[in-house]
Amino acid sequence: MRLKRLTLHGFKTFADKTEIEFAPGVTAIVGPNGSGKSNLTDSLLWVLGEQKASSLRASRAQDVIFAGSARRKPMGMAEVSLTIDNEDRVLPLDFAEITVTRRVYRSGEGEYLINKTPCRLRDITDLFLDTGVGRDAYAIVNQSEVDSVLSARPEDRRELFEEAA
């Protein structure tokens, strides 16, 4: 399983449709303070099914929709799509390529799609279960979060081990 492409539209500061191509190995995301790098991490967590707004530095689901800027109006919807190379069938669906899409509207209503077929949020989180990917996994480390594995209580730290087991 490998990430191929991430597409954002209306998600936080990504007002215009933005496509990011991933390569194998190490990719560095660079840019000035406040330019949107951590927002990319948030969009990955979100499209993989993150349900806690606070994990995305937000307080409500709608907070991830582009809120406008000095020159632009707020938008009505946020959409993120993640396209994955599934040649090795690590994801339990018989497709060589899988695209997962998530949308949220100002009303708070959400839409979820796998390869353009509407589904429930649950179907997306189930898809990634036990692959070491997605929320609660050790594989996505937020800014200023790396220290928290050390300051966590021993009982909370257990969850990481359960995820790996």
Binding site: T13, T18, I20, I29, V30, G36, V90, A139, V149, R158
Partner: protein
């Protein structure tokens, strides 16, 4: 699942020790079950002793030592249960020049098997990545991305941390 948890804990414990010793050039660690009689609910304590120093509480470790210890634990999980991709958001921020080199060494090795997305301001880390994705904010409040391959020159907006002696 008792057995699986214990096996995972053992494997992570060994990997953590090995990786810590690699990153710190010595020293030792221990992962200790807080309640060994109760595998299904036990917490896990972390003990870390940098080379030449006395074994002490994690709280007394320096900012950079804590970051490096957390990286060792994180990569121990990745070694025991590889994740298809891993996102690291500025985990190198508290590291000095020598330690960033140790970190990027590890990143290169693990990057052969998994995809890594590393958000960073550090030029040493950037140079360890064959692909850069630049996020810019020319229009205030609006993020745009651009792919930059195989960097020849010094990257823009980057901290260069020369290795210490």
């Amino acid at each position: 699942t008792r057995g699986v948890f214990y096996e995972t804990y053992q494997a992570v414990s060994y990997a953590f020790s090995r990786l810590f010793t690699r990153l710190f050039g010595g020293g030792s660690t221990e992962l200790v079950l807080t309640d060994p009689e109760n595998i299904l609910e036990t917490g896990i304590e972390i003990v870390a002793q940098p080379p030449g120093k006395k074994r002490q509480s994690l709280a007394l470790l320096s900012g950079g030592e804590r970051a490096l210890t957390a990286v060792a634990l994180l990569f121990a999980f990745l070694e025991v249960r590889p994740a298809p991709f891993c996102v690291l958001d500025e985990v190198d921020a508290p590291l000095d020049g020598a330690n960033v080199e140790k970190f990027t060494d590890l990143l290169r090795d693990f990057g052969k098997e998994s995809q890594f997305i590393v958000i960073t301001h550090n030029a040493t880390t950037m140079e360890a990545a064959p692909l850069w994705y630049g996020i810019t904010m020319q229009e205030p409040g609006i993020s745009r991305g651009l792919s930059m391959r195989v960097p020849e020159n010094t990257p823009p907006d980057a901290d260069k941390t020369p290795p210490t002696e």
